[in-house]
Amino acid sequence: MSLSQKMAGSPVHLVSDRGPVSDRDRFCDQLIAVLPRLRRFARGLTGSAVEADDLVQAACERALARRHQFQEGTRFDSWMFRIVQTIWIDQIRARDVRKEDGDVAEERLGSDEPVRRVEARLSLDEVRRAVDRLPRDQRTALLLVTVDGLSYKEAAEVARVPVGTIMSRLARARIALQQHLAAGGGMLGSKKDAQAQ
C-alpha cells in the first residue's frame, strides 16, 4: 500500500502554531495533499500531461467553489476524483466527439505503426498508451482501482455505477490490456519469447 493510499483513508490534519486553522485552510491543505494523485488520475484519463494539469486545475477551482458540498466524514479523495471525472466527461462532450469510444479505440489500434510491433519492446510509455487505447469507462475503472487502489465499491461511487459494472469493466480492461501487451510485442510478449527460446 502506498502512502497515498494510506492517506486516502483518513483526512489530512493540519496543526498550526498560528492559532485555530480555518475550515478553508484545512480544505486547501487536503486539496494540496491529494494533488499528486489527482494529476496521476487525470494523466491516465487524458493521456496528456498538459491536459491533465489543466483538468486538475479546473477541478481545484470547482472544488473550492463547491466546498460546502463536501460531506465531512466521507472520503475527500473520492470526492475529488469524481469532480475530475465529471469535468473530463464534460470536456469530451463539449468537443463533440463523433465516434463512440470503442470506435476510437479500434481506430487507434489500427493506426499502430508496424515498426513498433516488431520492436518487441514495450516501455512504460507504451503501457500508458495501451491504457489510453481502452474505452473511457474501462480506463476510468482501471485507473481508480488498479492504479489508485480504490476498492470496487469506492470506484463504483466515484463512477456512479453499480459495483458489478465496475467489476466487468475492470475485467474487460485488464484482459484487453494483457492481450495487447502480449500480442503487441511488449514486455509480456518479450518474456514469453525469451522463455520459449
Binding site: I32, P36, A171
Partner: protein, 289 residues
C-alpha cells in the same frame, strides 16, 4: 458455485472476493494450467500499469496547481517551475540569498531546543505529563507538539548553518556508514532513503533528542531553491500509528507520521506538494507505510 469467469479472476487478483469465492478460484487455479497462465499474465500486466503511472506521483506538483488549490490567482506559467541545478557559489551573496535563511528566529529556536529538548531528554517533560492527570489524548497531543517543535527547531538549526551545517556524522564514500554510527545510539537501525531523484544530496546525520528520545536527523540539501534543504527526523515512539499529518511550526512545513514504533517527520520550507511527494518516496523506501 460461481461461474469461472474473467470477472472473478480479476476480482480475485484485486482481493475483492469473499472467502468462499476465493477458495473456488484457488481450486480452479490449482487444477487448470491455462487459468494459472492467464492469472500470471494478468498479475504482470497489472504491475506494469501501476509502474507506468507511479512515476507521475513523484513529479513535482506545478506551482499553478498549488496556487489553484489555495484559491490564489494562478500564474500564467504553463508548467511547474523547477529551477535548474546550479553550481553552489560559496560567496557571501549566495549565502544571504538562500530563501531558507532564517536569521534571528534561530536564536529563539535554539533556546526552545535547549529548554524543551534537553528537559525532555532527562524525562522531565514525561514526568510532568504523566503526573499532571491529563488524559492520554491530551498527553499524546502534547507529545506530538514537542516532537514537532523539536523537529522544526532542528531543521532551522541546520538550514541556518548552510554549508557549515552541524553534522555529527558526515557522509563518507558509503553514506550508509554514517547511518551505522548514528544507529548505534538508537533502539532501531536507521536506513538511508535515496532522494537523488529529487535532486537532494545526503549531507550527513545528527543524533538529536526529540520528545525525550534519541532520534536520527538526516540532512539533505539541494541547489533547487524550489525545494531547499530538508531534514528527515526518525525516532522511536510508543504511540499508536498515525496517518501522515501536515503541520506548520516556526514557519516550517512538516509532514509527520508514525508506523510500527517509529516516528517520522519530513521537515522543510518547500511547498506541501513537494513535501508530500518526497515523504511518499521516503515511506516507500523505508517500508514505513
Amino acid at each position: 458455485m460461481h461461474k469461472r469467469s474473467d470477472d472473478r479472476l480479476v476480482a480475485y487478483l484485486d482481493g475483492e472476493l469473499e472467502v468462499a469465492e476465493r477458495r473456488e478460484i484457488e481450486a480452479w487455479l490449482a487444477s487448470d494450467a491455462t487459468a494459472r497462465e492467464k492469472f500470471a499474465a494478468l498479475a504482470e500486466s497489472t504491475n506494469l500499469v501501476r509502474a507506468a503511472f507511479d512515476e507521475i506521483i513523484h513529479e513535482p506538483v506545478p506551482d499553478r496547481l498549488i496556487a489553484a488549490a489555495r484559491g490564489e490567482s494562478v500564474s500564467s506559467e504553463p508548467v511547474g517551475r523547477v529551477l535548474p541545478f546550479r553550481r553552489r557559489q560559496a560567496t557571501e551573496a549566495a549565502s544571504t540569498s538562500r530563501p531558507w535563511r532564517v536569521g534571528l528566529p534561530v536564536a529563539a529556536c535554539l533556546l526552545g531546543l535547549l529548554l524543551g529538548g534537553n528537559a525532555a531528554y532527562f524525562g522531565v517533560a514525561k514526568l510532568a505529563l504523566n503526573g499532571s492527570g491529563k488524559s492520554p489524548a491530551v498527553a499524546a497531543a502534547a507529545a506530538d507538539n514537542l516532537w514537532l517543535d523539536n523537529a522544526a527547531g532542528y531543521f532551522k538549526l541546520v538550514a541556518s548553518a548552510g554549508d557549515g551545517a552541524l553534522i555529527d556524522v558526515a557522509p563518507t564514500d558509503d553514506p550508509r556508514e554514517a547511518l551505522q554510527k548514528i544507529s548505534q545510539n538508537l533502539p532501531q537501525a536507521v536506513r538511508l532513503p535515496d532522494l537523488k531523484p529529487w535532486g537532494l544530496k545526503f549531507r550527513g546525520a545528527r543524533l538529536v533528542v526529540a520528545d525525550g528520545r534519541p532520534a536520527a536527523q538526516l540532512v539533505y540539501t539541494t541547489d533547487n531553491k524550489a525545494i531547499g534543504p530538508l531534514t528527515l527526523l526518525i525516532g522511536s515512539s510508543k504511540e499508536p500509528d498515525i496517518s501522515p499529518t501536515l503541520a506548520r511550526r516556526q514557519e516550517v512545513n512538516l509532514l509527520y507520521w508514525r508506523h510500527q514504533g517509529r516516528a517520522y517527520a519530513l521537515v522543510g520550507q518547500s511547498d506541501i506538494g513537494y513535501l508530500w511527494g518526497i515523504a511518499n518516496d521516503v515511506a516507500w523506501q523505508l517500508d514505513a507505510i
